[in-house]
Amino acid sequence: MTTAPTPVPTTPAATEPGGGAGASRTAARTTHTPTRRRGPLARLGGAWLATLPLLLFFVIGFGLPTVAIVIGAFTTSSDAETGAGQFTFDNVTASVQGAYLTAMLSSLKLSALTALLATLIGLPLAQAVVTSRQGWLRQAVLTASGVLANFGGLPLAFAFVATLGNAGEITRLLHLTDHGWSLYTFTGLTIVYLYFLIPLMVLTITPALDGLRVQWREAAQNNRATTYQYWRHVALPILLPSLLGGFVLLFGSAFAAYATAAAMVGATVPLVSRSIADALSGNVLVGQGNLALALSLNMIVVAVLVMAVYLPLQRRSARWLS
């Protein structure tokens, strides 16, 4: 942890393998050793003052929109017959019915599937890199992962359209359309999402694999464990929190993604993020102007659940692997 920061920590988990809890505890303990000459109040005041801009920014930039979402989700919009600002459950009710329900389920399904696949593929890939004796291979794969994990959004969509789209190079080369191939389907979207989720998984899980101590493998061998038994009884259980945490993080990433799908699939695969964008551009029934906010609230609920699972896992793996 004291070495120079990893050049490619594009995920929270990648920068967080060390014992954050431990470090914060020591810091908290040492804070009361005073070398204060100007009196504790002046010093404390200065410190609070320095955090004030961040707090203010947060309240305005983040607090207001969040409040707007929550209030908006439960009130009528300005185009409603009853007038704006009336309390109502209509938005929330509508947001979990019909096409919106389909979109939510489809989003959940896509996120879960891609996160699972990326976890299953990312682990052996990261292990191949970690156990490799070639330093350059590790460096190359991690740098590439850093780039590709950032390669979400539009460029990714266009790259796949150019490759596997209807007029894509590979599609034409292998006459894939004749075999019923289409990129603009659930399967197609899965393949595209994996392109940034697998590198994200590699970045997330590599510190955990690095954290597996040689002593554990040797102690296992010394206690009569075969390689298979080592993985089954030692390595995988120790990695489990990291793997689950990684899965959840990937799920959240896939769930929140908008640009890739927006640029690629048109309306063939319904997704919550797209429904919100549609609703915001006025593409809703009269009186449902605040539907977008209700949909956003649904999304936030899912994301909160994701984080509620992720953070404890993250803490546990940090404790084991630091």
Binding site: Q215, A220, Q221, N222, A225, Q229, I238, R319
Partner: protein, 361 residues
Amino acid sequence: MTTAISPVTGATHSTGSATVEFRSLRRTFGATTALDGLDLTVRPGELLALLGPSGCGKTTALRILAGFEQHDSGQVLVDGKDITAIPAHKRDAGMVFQSYSLFPHLTAADNVAFGLRMRGAGKAERLKRAKELLELVGLPQHAGRYPHQMSGGQQQRIALARALALQPRVLLLDEPLSALDAKVRLSLREEIRRLQQELGITTLFVTHDQEEALSMADRVAVLRSGRLEQCAAPAELYARPATAFVAEFVGTMSRIPCERSGEGVEVLGRRHAVDGALPADGSLQVLVRPENVRLTPDEHGVALVVSASFLGAVTRLTVRLNDRTEVKADLPTEAAAGLPVGSRAALTLPERPVLVDRRTV
């Protein structure tokens, strides 16, 4: 042999007391030579300490014995059988690592019983055995704790219990105390020695701490650059080191220039007899231990007291001779009070210095 360890499997294979032999063991890592023809025999049931500075190959020898490293040439024999072809997970040697080797996701009891689980032992048997071993290392109430809930010393005790769980014939300790606090280190040192003697298990103990080696081991093997310098009982090693390296690595030594004088040497105007032959050529120095140097207050003495450090019962004085040589001398603290820094003293060397070596400084 011991009542604490009852045979688990019913088979009465003897715990401990294997003979371990390293023969011309050689191992290089790229350009560095870790072992350069090591010859060493560990007798059944003894605790042998492998002592040396870092990089002398002591850990490599241990890891080769455990099967974690391969040697380039030479042989490792356990009870006369070459074990080279046996993979690490089938070797009959329990190992305690330097630190952090406990599995973090398992409780103390599960850590201890890990080897039994790998062997397919049933749950009841594992629990029973783990309980026995935890009692053996004095931590029966810690069975349900996880490694991160225990102190470093407790973790090493658990690691010791785990290493003993499968009743190995050899116990390997790779600097097991070096990551611990001084106080814990002392108590665990005694604990390990007690257990080892109780079980009568052949034990190899790697350490760079000479005090640790001398206080615990039946015999100490001093390694230097992958070769054995000397292997002897602690008292002998201290009193009659075979080489200057051993002499200075084990305990404190002062070097004083001397002249040849027949079969012996002349130091500060007095003749001293010498054990063994003198180096053939070059100028010489005698090596003496602080407790063998006597100082008496004397205004016209050769020695000027330049510093004193209080060590409890004794005080170690550093004196400077006329040729600027510095010599350390341990005096009873009361006697040292008569020799404040800046005073002069007469210096008397023991009848036989520990060793005579070529001049190095």
